[in-house]
């Protein structure tokens, strides 16, 4: 009887494992080569995907076991460099992370002070609102050609694209957080004759910090989504370029590996900011 009364967490973990096993099992079955030999194939196609896959003797789709082997191979040697188009997946992830953190950091430096200003001044809010409303829904990739033309550097252009997509959630959340600081807290500062800078740092910033951090969490999520697409466009380095390159190599196993690693890194980024958000959150 006690085994049935396991904690919810344990039961959930068990269910997760079961679902995982089911997916892997179905995948394994689906990726098995068909029993009968397939019809004759276009020799060009056979050259592309390999003779075994083209004739149907072996699917181009790797089995979970293949993926496991590939992941293991990547994890054992993540930082090798064997030429411009053959770098370890760790290096590629590091390039992408670097761009995301740089673009995100620049966006924070820009958006938080400007958000403060917008939140404090109804005039600035109204003046900037049309710009924000129009630019916010634009896909960050739409900026790419403009960035490439003006900046003339693909690496910096992708950082700019990260910057532009990270700016909006932080800007809007900072402005909202600052504008909705409780009046009575501001009145406390006023009755204590606290100067504007001390009020900004000691009252408004801590009061708005949870909202600002929520904006940052949304931003980093979007930035991590966008970097893959941006790197597919600009090429050269990065996990997005890696995925595109492996598509050209038709190495599905490498692509799946990259997908899983992108997911894990995204999770870590999100959890990291969730931690930071928790640090500045205050119960009322």
């Amino acid at each position: 009887m006690t085994t049935l009364k396991k904690s919810l967490g344990l039961r959930a973990a068990l269910l997760s494992l079961l679902i995982f096993a089911a997916i892997v099992g179905l995948w394994q079955i689906a990726a098995q080569p068909p029993a009968a030999s397939g019809p004759a194939v276009d020799p060009e196609y056979a050259k592309l995907v390999g003779a075994a896959a083209a004739t149907g003797a072996k699917s181009a789709m790797p089995t979970p076991a293949d993926i496991g082997v590939t992941i293991w191979k990547h994890l054992m040697d993540p930082f090798y460099v064997k030429g411009t188009n053959d770098k370890g997946i760790g290096i590629q992830l590091a390039y992408s992370l670097g761009r995301v953190l740089l673009g995100f950091g620049l966006a924070a430096l820009f958006a938080v002070p400007l958000g403060f200003l917008i939140g404090m001044s109804p005039l600035v809010y109204r003046a900037l609102d049309p710009f924000i409303q129009i630019l916010k829904p634009v896909s960050p990739l739409a900026w790419m050609p403009l960035a490439l033309y003006t900046i003339k550097d693909s690496a910096i252009s992708s950082i700019f694209v990260i910057f532009i997509c990270s700016v909006w959630p932080m800007l809007i959340n900072t402005a909202f957080g600052v504008a909705s600081v409780r009046r009575e807290w501001l009145n406390v500062a006023r009755t204590l004759e606290v100067g504007p800078f001390r009020t900004a740092f000691k009252v408004i910033l801590p009061a708005a910090a949870p909202t600002i951090m929520t904006g940052m969490r949304i931003s980093i999520g979007i930035a991590w989504l966008v970097i893959v697409a941006a790197e597919m466009l600009v090429g050269g380095t990065g996990i997005g370029y890696f995925v595109w390159n492996e598509w050209n190599n038709l190495s599905i196993a490498n692509i799946v590996t990259a997908i899983l690693l992108i997911g894990v890194v995204g999770l870590l980024l999100d959890q990291g900011l969730a931690r930071l958000t928790k640090l500045v959150t205050y119960p009322e």
Binding site: W185, N187, V188, T191, E193, A209, P283, E284
Partner: protein
């Protein structure tokens, strides 16, 4: 009554407040009264008559549409550390501890003090309101009464010339309210603090106040009269307040005002005897002994 001919510590002169454009009727107008040093003055009236607005003007948080408030012979033009406010909803900064909240006020008052000196000073006031041991707690870990104590400690810690309290105990249960009233009474007696407090609790006003300012209903609210609490401070105790010979006379007078006269005051003064600058000082507690309602000018100069 040999008082020096000078303004009281606080002098409210011809105050009016309109919201919206100037055609709108004033919430209150032609408000004149004074508060002497060391005096505890309560303002009572119904919701909507502008009590909180008057307090905010005194605090410097709101601007009057007309008139002025003179403190120490200077017109106030903004908030000041000399006038500490105890807010209705305690208004503690939730991300700071008890010590942090009070230290924030202390270091605002004395920016040159170092950390140790600020904390020593803050600790004295935490002890004064009986919160020793709770210094590191966050407001969310405190009960409503304890939060309000922190608010009181914060206000007292900056050693203001006067305290402004906006229904400070209205959100508390009766037991806690009573305990805090006793403490405020004790602290004010010890420090000879000047206090202006808004309340709608008649008993609270009788327990705490030396003078009770009665405000009529808005719009166009005015001060009807000022009731002098003739029960001496040392005879006011919460537990046997109702046994004091003057208690019911004062209480009935206040309740009668709130229930009937606050609505119909305009008819009452139809004879033209009302002068907002020379308010009647009434002493219902002495009504049995003295003839009723002598006219005493509130303001001694001008």
């Amino acid at each position: 009554m040999d008082r020096p001919l000078q303004r009281p510590l606080i002098s409210v002169e011809g105050l009016a407040r309109r919201f919206g454009d100037s055609n709108q009727p004033a919430v209150f107008e032609n408000i004149w009264f004074g508060i002497d040093r060391g005096e505890f003055v309560c303002l009572i009236g119904h919701s909507g008559c502008g009590k909180t607005t008057i307090l905010n003007v005194l605090a410097g948080l709101d601007q009057p549409s007309d008139g002025a408030v003179i403190v120490d012979n200077r017109e106030i033009d903004g908030p000041s550390l000399d006038r500490a406010v105890i807010f209705q909803g305690h208004a503690l900064l939730p991300w700071l501890s008890v010590m942090g909240n009070i230290a924030f006020a202390v270091s605002s008052r004395w920016p040159s003090w170092d950390r140790a000196k600020v904390q020593d000073h803050a600790r004295k006031f935490i002890e004064l309101v009986g919160l020793k041991g709770a210094e590191a707690k966050k407001p969310s870990q405190l009960s409503g009464g304890m939060k309000q104590r922190v608010g009181i400690a914060r206000a007292l810690s900056i050693q203001p010339k006067m305290l402004l309290m906006d229904e400070p105990f209205s959100a508390l249960d009766a037991l806690t309210r009573g305990m805090l009233q006793d403490e405020v009474l004790r602290i004010c007696a010890d420090t000879n603090q000047t206090v202006f407090m808004i309340t709608h609790d008649v008993d609270e006003a009788i327990l705490l106040a030396d003078k009770i300012v009665l405000m009529t209903n808005g719009p166009g609210a005015k001060i009807a009269e000022i009731v002098v609490n003739t029960m001496p401070r040392n005879e006011r105790h919460r537990n046997d307040l109702h046994r004091h010979p003057q208690y019911y006379a004062i209480r009935n007078h206040l309740v009668e005002f709130l229930v009937n006269r606050s609505k119909a005051f305009d008819q009452e003064i139809a004879d033209g005897s009302y002068d907002p600058r020379r308010l009647k000082l009434v002493k219902p507690g002495l009504a049995a002994v003295n003839p009723p309602a002598e006219v005493v000018p509130l303001r001694h100069t001008l």
